[in-house]
Amino acid sequence: MSATLPPFEEIVTTHGPTVLRVCRAVLGPMDADDAWSETFLAALRAYPTLRPGSNVEAWLVTIAHRKAIDQTRARARRPLPVDPLPERPAPSDADRGLDGDLWAAMQALPFKQRVAVAYHYVAGMPYADVAALTGGSQDAARRAAADGIATLRKTYGEGGPR
C-alpha cells in the first residue's frame, strides 16, 4: 500500500498547539493568531503536494517562519497608531496567564535569538534544522538560542515555570 496523506484535520489537531506556541514566541500573543491562521491556510493550500512521510511539523514551522518575517516587516512599516486599535480582539484570560509574561519577555529579544529559541526550545527542532531555516551555521543558531535563553533568565526571572 502506498503511503497517503492523513486528513488535514489531523494535522491541525496534532501540530496546531505547537505552531501556535511558536507564533506566540516569535511574534507575541497579539499577532500570533494572525500568523497561525495564515500558516495553516497556506499549508492547506499546499498540502496535496506534500510528500507523504515528510516531517510535517518542520514543514509548518518553515511556513510560519516566512509569515513571521512578513509580519515583522509589515510591523516595521506600520505607522504608530494615534489611538489604540479597539477592534483587535484581546487574547482570552488563559492566553494572558503564565506564558503571557514569557512571550512578552521573548519580544524584547533580537529577532535572530527569538526565532532560534522558538524553533529549538518551543518546536523542539535540532540546531541543524534551525540553521537551515534561519540561515547561518549550526553553531550560530546554537549561540543565538543560548544568548536568548541567558537574557530570558534575567528578564523573565527565576519565578518562571519549573
Binding site: 497517503t4 492523513p6 484535520e9 501556535l20 491562521s37 495553516f40 543560548a146
Partner: protein, 209 residues
C-alpha cells in the same frame, strides 16, 4: 568557531517545560477561523461532522457538490476519513456547520417526520455500474422494498444481481440513498453496510410511519 561550544544550556530549557496547554476556547476560535477562510479561498474540499442516531453515530461528509459519504460506526470513522483523504482530497476539515442541513434532514427522517431527502448528493465515490445502481435506488419509495433482481433489471442488466448486491454493500451514502430498501427475492432481509440490525431498524421505522 574554534573551540567546542560549552554545553551550558540544557537541551530542553526549563523555561518552556511547563507551559500551560492551549485553552479550548483559543483552539476553537482558531479552528473556526481556519474553516471560514478555507471555505472563502475554495480550499475546503471535504467537510465532515458526526451525528447521533438510533442506529449509532453517523459520520457525514460533503463536497462542494453535495453529500458524498454517510458512514456507520462499524465502518470505523477514522478509517473512513483516511479513505476520503486518499480517494477525494486530503483537504478535509471538521466543519459541522457545513452539514447542518444534512444533519437536520437525517434527524427528521429518524424521527419519522421525513419520507424523502432534498439534499444534493455527490456520487464521486461510486463508479460505473455501481453508480448507476445507486441512482436507481432513489426510485424505491419510503416504506417500500425491491429485490436485488428487480434493481438489476431497472439498471438494464438483469443478470447482474450479484453486482447489485455489491453496489448496495459499498453504497457510500447509506440512509440517504436507500440501499436498505433492497432485499432478497425470497423476502429475507439480506446484507447491509451498517449491519443487519441497522437495516431492520430502518425498515421497521419506515413501516411504522
Amino acid at each position: 568557531m574554534m573551540t567546542t561550544h560549552e554545553p551550558r544550556e540544557p537541551e530542553r530549557s526549563d523555561l518552556f517545560v511547563e507551559l500551560p496547554a492551549i485553552d479550548e476556547e483559543t483552539t476553537r476560535r482558531l479552528h473556526d477561523r481556519l474553516v471560514r477562510e478555507a471555505q472563502t479561498a475554495g480550499l475546503l474540499d471535504v467537510a465532515y461532522r458526526t451525528i447521533d442516531s438510533p442506529v449509532g453515530p453517523l459520520l457525514l461528509a460533503t463536497t462542494a457538490k453535495g453529500l458524498v459519504r454517510v458512514a456507520y460506526g462499524c465502518e470505523d470513522h477514522e478509517k473512513v476519513l483516511e479513505r476520503l483523504a486518499r480517494d477525494l482530497s486530503p483537504r478535509i476539515l471538521h466543519a459541522p456547520a457545513r452539514l447542518d442541513a444534512a444533519a437536520k434532514e437525517i434527524d427528521e427522517y429518524f424521527a419519522g417526520l421525513r419520507r424523502g431527502f432534498d439534499l444534493p448528493v455527490d456520487f464521486s465515490l461510486a463508479r460505473g455500474f455501481r453508480r448507476l445502481v445507486l441512482t436507481r435506488l432513489r426510485a424505491i419509495g419510503y416504506g417500500q422494498t425491491a429485490s436485488y433482481a428487480a434493481i438489476a433489471i431497472a439498471a438494464g442488466n438483469p443478470k447482474a444481481v450479484r453486482a447489485v448486491g455489491t453496489a448496495c454493500a459499498t453504497n457510500p451514502i447509506p440512509v440517504v440513498v436507500p440501499c436498505h430498501r433492497v432485499v432478497r427475492s425470497d423476502g429475507s432481509i439480506g446484507q447491509y453496510v451498517g449491519g443487519v440490525d441497522a437495516k431492520k431498524a430502518l425498515l421497521t421505522l419506515e413501516a411504522a410511519a
